[in-house]
Symmetry: D3
């Protein structure tokens, strides 16, 4: 057999926001939880140059685009992130990464990056959605702020998944207050229950890559309420999806994602 | 009656690309062709500061965002345009404009701008599409480069207009070679004929705001071929739509376009 | 430039019902509120011959079709209106009108009239809907009687706008009791609130051309309840749309609206 | 058992056009071909008073609405037929008919008539379509004139059957030249073949109630070309459907078809 | 005329479950209630050999497939029924039946059987659904157990009827406890009311062929609550549909249902 | 962290057909190509008892259901496979497998098996489709025989993926003649080209799990023709998907896939 799975995969986890203090040891361990042990994940953050945090990687001189939104909670924030994200993606490809995870559920510049580079690129939305499709007919996304619901519904419509992803709901807790675990789980539980009972949801996607380590608790609370449904954490789904695509050698269609014309 | 149509409307025509030589006297006259005589259109271009060209307006010191794509022919180009476009939109609102036309059929940052400002904002796509809905059941967009078809189909899907706008076709002539009128009309005619005969199109939208002054010739050629169908030029439709929304006092829904959170 | 906007537009506002006392000075002023000052609107009513009311126009001998429904609150009423409406539309074109507004939200005979004449024809539904598309993702129509909801949902389905216009609700106040302003606004407010909170509506279209002068009050009440959403009055939208189409020289596609065969 | 099938069913076959010479002995025999022997079909034609032709029935004095289109080949023709059709339907109910077939594939005033009377009403479109659904996934309608395609696609869209009825094609032979059997079958065959090979059609509905006695020949020709597909004649389907609904005691939902308000 | 309706129709009513005691004299009378008097219905049950019950028919030696589910309340049950159902269908065709009703609302092996035999085959879902389409825009199915809702929604989606059949609800009474008439009607009434008031349903289909003789009572209770809507019993609809298809000579499209390849 | 990826995954590859000679050393190597080295795949075939072939596994006494179709090329074949497949799936769960791949693109009994067992179950369709969604907007399936196209389109419709998976095409080479590599690739190339040029496909899924080791060649031929598109082999996609779901601990929603009632 000539084709082989790529064994040592390097993934770039790119944070498309400038808020400080997001990357932590705990988060990095958590994200790597389901990856193979040869897989390397480096974390970059726009506005901070290319500094690899966490897992071993090559330290690189800065200089990339340094602007971007504090957090992404609106179409406005997302549009601000575009040029920086693309700048970093191009560098990532040059440095030999096998896949890129743009670490935001709004999928900022994901399609643009797919045009630009020759490696798989995912945001937070698609991987969780595609995994959920294999386990449930009707899916609900529970996100952070209502401001981003229209954007997400737009992404669902663009993906023609409206008949499977039946609603997007928000807990309305700002992104930078996501550390209060108890409060978050309570709010997620409340919205998930409404979605199951009113929207007919049969699976829950946590619609913010900043929701980490809460799926298990949420799943248990729903189970106690009589609902045995899968709960998906977007960042873990995305990193695993990046790993799988890299291993399988999957690359974007150049009929969907043509290379941008050069001037 | 307390409510009155706003009589003196000021529209900003914002070019979201940095290619030089786009704005001309001819283009400005052309664009104003269907506007009321009290309506003022100022033209700004990202990367050039705020210089008002053509119709009388206030000259303003530069300093706004100066980066952006040469032209917009891909998702990549569009993502690059975001921050500059938003910067200029905010200034436009501060300066008292009544509506903004982001002069590109790809609708770059249109939804983000609607969140940011309190005045109507249109790109090239929606106005032509909404006008066409009143005249034909099945509509085809004929654009410039194939690279942007996926983006446009994404916008159509987001707008849930897939059942009305039945295809997007490209003439595959780069944007900066749009001055060869004969060649363009021939290419547009060929694609329009294919769309009528293969896609069932009953109206044609010219899917690039750079197609100016060709609709009439195209319409006549199609008529000679036996097809009496409307042909829409996006820039004229958009400016007229901006004028009408301003006069009617229409403003975006704050449930669809919430104000971006402030940090 | 050869093409010019038509400056002096003449619109026929055709009432397709026979109930007396509908046309008033107040209504006429109101309807003209957003039109350009050179635009002339004449009002005809089926069953009354061609008498121009309100704005100056040519008085003409009667003789046109004289049958029709008292009001339009069902498919049945709408079917009754057809032949008279078409008779008047043909006369309007002969007399040189530039556009026709068939003044009913049910769009009676609108498509038939587009086949018959060579000028734009609108009912109440499309103009408000097409304007709303530029401001909100999800739209609700609030109409008068439940009897006409199926017809309206049929029109929405025919227009393939089901994914944008998410519901049609009724206040269940008969058309000829629409003069009690307080009561109407209260009922409209109640249904609009339900639509926002239960259907996810982000904009409201008043689904009867007889709702006049209530949008502003309704909009304010919704704003006080925390919902900043646009509210559209169908008759104003329709007349403005007629004016714009006439000015732009837009004419229906003859592939969608073929001329009726002659026998 | 209290409920019983109604055994002696009386159906009104109402011709909504004024062209002379349509009703013939041959047509009447043909239409009754699949009905039970106790079933009585009377044929009325608008513009001719209530004269029962063919099968035994009660002769009645005229006086009903006498206007209507020559034939129905456009939205315009259909709108003209409305008031007369409704007038006759009301008389039919008073005279004790059990079901009404409005004998036109465009379904003129069918929904209005369902509101008006308390017995089942069908045009030509729905019965053939509903029967075809049980035999094939993808269905094509082949009709007479292109002028009526938009109307039919509108009816398909209103019925939300777009994903099953994949196209409407026309032979472009005027309704009053439908007697040349050879020519018609050749034209139907050609369009059916195109629909099978290009649209993926798997069943053919003859989209004009005037296509009588051609289905068998068309079916055989398609079979010789290798395509074993059902072919439906609308009038036979409709009369049988009327008989079945009458026997089963089915009546329209008064939530879909509310009674028209009385003034 | 060469073509004639088949007058003496023989229908096989095939029970695809092995639970004893389902076939009763009462059920057989009830099912034949709307059929023509020359029509013969024989009842077979998988697992019991070919024994004709009720109406006169030919007794035949057993030997057919004898496995199958106790009842059908899940995808699992349905998959178990497949081979037996197909075995009996083939025998039925050999014995000269004109149509087959696979007596279960889940439509087990219906499509497979259509491939296999040359006569019409229906389960419980399609006939009731197709009849309901002619009387109401929005339809709800009320079935027995929640377990089968996903399967039914899958069948609705496969049939592309999602926009007409707006929900499936369950009374959650197991199939083998369907003899308590009072309790069933109460439960059906409750779900029907919810569907009318929350889902906008305008007609009710009883989504289990074991619901017999309850439609009339349910319809009356809904009428007393102010809702005049049709209620469909699946088994009666299916048997009548079988009879009609047989009489009309309708046979499945061989482009949709190709003959299975032989090995 | 409490949650951990399961490291040693055991997958059952269940062949739901009885044709001999399908399992070969080459096929097994090929299928394991992209799996982690700790992952064990056992291959069972219905009708042959539980014999583990290829990769090391536990040999088990037979006795499971022994009936099934020779190959699966129709709805009929698929229905025959149901009971055996379910019988084996239950045994697999008892024996501690972590996931099941029912090795057929028609997804026979996949949903039924998900109800029955508590581990992920996939057929060939969903994994390839879900992977393709991340790389292309418009996807075409190229399968073996035309007989199975309707079934596959039904599965696509049930999954609500019609707007992404734009066509299913067949090479019309029987499953048991799939060893002629040259001929197959030529036929696949021809259908893929038609799909790209006529259907607008941007990615190709090989719609039979028996297509093994041809994707690379097909991809290269398409590339030479100017189309750089991904090509997916269903069996590899499915096994990788099984592995990932097992590692992530994903389990089916019990609101979509309720446990079958026990009698």
């Amino acid at each position: 057999m000539e084709r082989r799975a790529k064994k040592d995969v390097r993934i770039l986890n790119l944070l498309p926001v400038t808020a400080p203090g997001i990357v932590s040891e705990k988060m990095l361990n958590y994200m790597n939880n389901y990856l193979e042990k040869e897989t390397v994940v480096d974390v970059w953050q726009i506005g901070y140059g290319i500094t690899t945090t966490g897992r071993p990687g090559e330290a690189l001189p800065g200089g990339a685009a340094k602007y971007g939104p504090h957090t992404i909670e609106s179409e406005y924030d997302e549009a601000l992130a575009g040029p920086s994200v693309l700048d970093y993606c191009q560098k990532a490809e040059e440095l030999g990464y096998d896949a890129i995870f743009i670490d935001c559920f709004g999928d900022p510049a994901v399609k643009a990056a797919r045009e630009l580079v020759n490696i798989p690129v995912f945001g937070g939305f698609e991987p969780a959605a595609h995994f959920a499709l294999g386990l449930a007919d009707k899916i609900c996304i529970v996100t952070v702020m209502s401001n981003i619901i229209s954007l997400m519904k737009g992404n669902i419509a663009k993906a023609h998944l409206n008949d499977r992803i039946v609603n997007v709901r928000a807990v309305d807790i700002p992104v930078d207050q996501l550390n209060n675990g108890e409060k978050i789980i309570e709010a997620l539980y409340k919205q998930s229950m409404k979605s199951i009972e009113e929207d007919g949801a049969q699976a829950i996607i946590l619609g913010c890559t900043g929701f980490i380590g809460v799926a298990e608790s949420l799943k248990n609370r729903l189970l106690q309420a009589g609902y045995d449904v899968p709960v998906f954490e977007a960042a873990q789904c995305a990193l695993k999806m990046c790993e799988v695509y890299a291993k399988m050698g999957f690359r974007q269609s150049r009929l969907t994602y043509m290379k941008p014309p050069v001037h």
